[in-house]
Amino acid sequence: MKRILDLTLGIVTSIGGFLEAGSIITAVQAGAVFGYKLLWTIALGTLGLMLLVEQSGRLAAVTGRTVGDALRERFGIRFFIIPLVTGLLVSFLVLASEIGGVALALQMATGIGFQWWAMPVAFAGWFLLWKGNFGIVEKGTSLLGLVTIVFVVAALKLHPDWGRVGASLLPTAPDHDGPRYWYLAVSIIGASISPYLYMFYSSGAVEDGWGVNDLSTNKATAVLGMSFGGILSAAVLIIAALVFLPRGIQVDRYEQAGLLLPPVLGHTGFVLFLASLGIACFGATTEITLAMAYLLAQGLGWDWSENARPKQNARFSLTYTVTILLAGVVMAVGIDPLKLTNFSMMLTAASLPVTVIPMFVLMNDEALVGEHRNRWFSNAALGALSIVTIIVLVSAVPLQILGGS
């Protein structure tokens, strides 16, 4: 019974925690300009994330090591420094975007500029980390995040053409604005597969003391949780395709996304959009902050745990404190949240090879994962994903230039 409860909670958590600033806005941008056409990138990104979450969870359950631990232990500091530095840098920008997302939701509700909200939001996030424990941070924000299901409700109410939705799950070439199309394709992949997600997930498995018995929970959480999460992103894109595209609204400012739901659900839609944006981004804010502190602590061998009192792991607690407040400062200065979000999604996508490719080695190392190492299917899928990430890395800079504005 407890197992089923845990499993349900795990799946629900991944659904509620799936959407964040980047996945919302990239899906809106894609739907507004290209209709359903880019749905395949959400499918691809979700499959990739599913794969990485399952493998990093398996690694943690079998060995008690997180992805961060294993990267340093298996490859040594001379390699590890690359994922460490890129991971921290990219996550920091994503973190600032998430704080921006919460601040924008508050701006849209009150009319007070997002810059004024950035520091209070960062402080609130810090307070939750300082006073709360892992369960509260992960489960609490994710359960509230279930409000994002409103996107699925709205998408269903719009009666999309399911035949065309299904057909868009296969990649097609664009008939106009090629660079913009591929730019958004790469951004969506970056928004779906964020390294902080599986770093956080594997650290969470260690925090919760997972063992080999939890492998089936892990698999089910990865497959079901991520699929349902992907459906949320797809729903956002479908709504944008049916509300923004016919009206000719393109996204120049993040706040334009506030017009997504009112035509379908009226004022309730507006309120639920603000709640979804605020809660989803707040959840992501705390998770990314923790993921960064985890990564640094694991890489340098400090004690770390969100379940311990802050005093017990002074360097760890100081790291998340400084990180979240600094990211708040970035938003308080008044950087355009849309530009920052788009840029950080692109950067995330470009940074994928440094964590995805080493997973191959980790998950095939018999000394590390033993009999739970990858079978041919996981390896083939990971191989395909690695190729995608390399293509993404190579095309990131040209696409940022040609399709970025």
Binding site: T110, G111, G248, Q250, E255, Q256, P262, P263, F270, Q400
Partner: protein
Amino acid sequence: MPNGGDRSPRTKRRRWVGWIALPLLIACGGNDPAAQIQRAGSWAATTRELAIERQVRGIGRAYTSDMLDAGQREVQKIARSLKPSDLPETLQARVPAAVGRLDSVIASTRSAVRRGDAVALGAAAADANALGDTLRALRAALGGK
């Protein structure tokens, strides 16, 4: 210090700066008039939607006003970046006129929101709608991709 020694790393560094700056210049300098007209059209559509949704109280007042302010700033930016010399002769007067008109429609929508005047909001939505059509036609007349 002999100046031959420290020269090459510095040149290397300069070259790096060049490689980074060049794409940025290209990215920022790109002011495709077709794209600008399209953006203006998108703001006309946004204004129309804001007016309609505000009329039925689908969206908050603070949000609507903020959005219109932001739209106005964007439209003024578009107006500044559109150079008549980039446009074909037949459109040289019409495009800036349409963009200028959008600026004033946004302003009147803004004041209708402030007064809570539902009738004026309806009129503003109709104006924005017509302007959207005009801008779409201009965008089509410009041709291109």
